[in-house]
């Protein structure tokens, strides 16, 4: 018997790290601003003000207008819906896909595992962004396709992570005990292994949301993202990049700041969860 600490760690959970709380506050604030956009600005994201093209920030258009005469403030707000929505959906998809692949691989072991892992190796040998470009180019650029693309390229790391956890858990006594209890393969995997293997995933997922937004912005920047005139930060930065040269800084800077803030928020959440896990 180890010289067990006489106290039992009772109240270890419940309290969030301050860093997690700050991150969550940022992300929620941005998302809330996106949802509340109709009340925050009179302008529609694709509404054209015929009198103002590429006008700097003023009382009417707080963040100015872009080359199409659309209100940048309204577009930055409305884009939060799409960007955060795609980030969450694609990461959720990546987690589900990764789990669906990694869990049975780790559970089966042997040659099944070997072959599966080599396939993952091959997939991961491609640079992520090039792969995303290829998939987006093949599938075409619609909202569901973008979610699918970003979900697909993010799935292999999750598959690896889940598999590694499952391999480590597979020969723990409580899994043998569950096998002795008469559980089926699926029940061993879903009821006993998965809940125990999920912790590291939950730590990585928020970080991954940040990367997903960046990938989306990157795809939009090269023209394979959300098609104009739909408001999306990456596409706005891309379109505004040319204006910056002419001194019209507002069209790219404001969506850039929004993007920066959101990714920072997600990273802080992930960082906090990671610290918390490291303490265990």
């Amino acid at each position: 018997m180890p010289a067990a600490a006489p106290n039992r760690p009772a109240q270890r959970r419940s309290r969030l790290e301050p860093i997690t709380a700050i991150g969550a506050a940022i992300v929620l604030a941005v998302l809330a601003a996106g949802i509340a956009a109709p009340w925050l600005t009179p302008w529609e994201p694709t509404q054209i003000d015929p009198f103002f093209f590429l006008e700097g920030p003023n009382a009417q258009h707080w963040f100015g207008t872009d080359g199409n005469g659309m209100d940048v403030f309204a577009r930055v707000l409305y884009a939060a819906r799409i960007d955060i929505g795609i980030a969450l959906a694609s990461v959720a998809l990546a987690v589900v896909l990764g789990t669906a692949v990694g869990l049975p691989l780790g559970y089966a072991g042997g040659w099944v595992d070997d072959i599966g892992m080599r396939v993952l190796d091959i997939l991961q040998a491609f640079p992520v962004f090039i792969l995303a470009l290829a998939i987006a180019a093949i599938l075409g650029t619609s909202l569901p396709n973008l979610i699918l693309t970003i979900g697909l390229i993010n799935a292999p790391p999750y598959a690896r992570l889940i598999r590694a956890e499952v391999v480590a858990l597979r020969h723990r006594t409580f899994i043998e005990a569950a096998e002795c209890a008469g559980n089926s393969h699926s029940s061993l995997m879903l009821r006993h292994l998965l809940p125990n293997a999920l912790t590291p995933i939950l730590v990585i997922a928020p970080l991954n949301c940040g990367w997903a937004i960046l990938t989306l912005a990157g795809l939009s920047f090269v023209g394979l993202g959300i098609p104009v005139p739909e408001a999306e930060w990456g596409a706005m930065i891309s379109a505004g990049a040319a204006d910056v040269v002419g001194g019209r800084w507002w069209t790219a800077t404001f969506p850039g700041l929004a993007l920066f803030l959101t990714v920072l928020g997600f990273n802080l959440i992930g960082e906090g969860l990671q610290q918390r896990q490291a303490q265990r």
Binding site: M1, A3, A177, C180, A181
Partner: protein, 531 residues
Amino acid sequence: MTAPLLEIRDLRVAIPTATGVIEALRGVSLSVAPGEVLGIVGESGGGKSMIARTLTHLLPAQAEAQGQVTLAGTDVMTLRGEALRRFRGRSVGLCFQNPRSALNPVRKIGDQLIDRLREHAPGGDLRARAVTALAAVGLRSPETMMGQFPHQLSGGMAQRVMIALSLACNPRLLVADEPTTGLDVTLTGEILTLIARQARDGARGVMIISHDIAALSKVSDRLVVMEKGLIVEEGSTRRIVTAPRHRYTRRLIEAVPDVTTRRRAQPREDGRSVVMAIRDIDVTYPARFGRRPAPALTGVSLDIRMGDTIAVVGESGSGKSTLSRAIMGLLAPSRGEIRFRGKTMSSMRFSARRGLRRYMQMVFQDPFDALNPRMSVEDIVSDPLRLVERDAARRSAAIDRVLVEVGLDPTFRTRRPHELSGGQAQRVGIARALSIAPELVVLDEPASALDVTVQAQLLDLIRRLTERRDRAYLIVSHDLATVRALCDRVVVIDAGRIVEEGPTEHVFTNPASPKTRALLDAAPRLYTDAT
């Protein structure tokens, strides 16, 4: 009486935590004379280890220690920096609980010894001195061992290396903190004797900390009994063992399994149905790269009848756990067959074997590792039940019934494993096994990871269960003493083969195999004449 070598006066250790201050030691005073072996006994959480940790300044960072500790004239509590480092190296030798994790895994044994010598006792041929140190602790081929890594050693060998390391610089005091945890009974005796022998030169003092009063009674001159951070009784080993005064000491002594206690219930006569028939099985673990496959079991045959309680006894590494895993179908024999309820289980596929699971259940050695940390007691206990009882109300009633049966209150249902004590966790493990009324229950060292008094309660529960004779039990153990009162038949296993088998009383009174006799000699018992 000579002046004490180590003197501890009114030592208090408090550890502040999030939930409040834990008073690990609440005013402990004791002394060790040169040439004396002092045993400190008590259960986990009693504060024993804190004494060893205070001596070497290894208390948790936030702990606050007060009191006076003097070792051979040195005031230990005020040591800092370089003086502390030298003191740790030269004056105290400390053997840790788990030797394999206390040795540096990436450095050779020889290098670790030479490091220590060079740092704290330089001079002469360091290598030759290291070899001598290894030979002095009874290691047979010290030259070879110099080039080996810790993972290549068995538990007993690793503890000997640890002792050699502690003694290398000839410290005045040798402290061993639970040095035999995880070792089987034969090795426990050998290691403790080796440690105690270090006081024989008359100059060195030895302090052994253990939860095992039987093992300590054999080797120590004086005993200190600790409970909840206080010394409750102190005296010569002989006096404490023969005439304990404190209630807690008496409890510890009563909990020692007695090798002479016989089974009260008489086995039923023959003619009962055979639940499981094991026919001449071999189990071979697959070879690692570049090694030959190692046979773990060879030619094992065994009949288990309804109502039987059979003990499988052997040293660690003898193959007894492999046998229980083969019985449970967790690994397949490479030869021979296992028939269960008339079906050849050993050749079944996973899904077919699942159908037989409800008739056989297992209780595991480490109660915490055997419970899913994310499930409540209720879910754990009903895990096997879920597959056969679809009706939620009936299932719920069955959970309550089986919890009461193993001595737990039904309010335990909502708890999670980390909220249980070791004894409670093992009861949950037993409740899970009994929940679907199996015909065969395999218990793999069910009490060996628990404190002695808890162990006694648990063995009592198992004894009561087995006396009902409504199912067959197979109990795996390294300790013959614990099984005599529990079992009808004993199977002694050594190096993967059955070396002796027969009715319990027959095996205990007329052991035929030398292995059985060795195990009987090693069985823990209280020694009233300390040496």
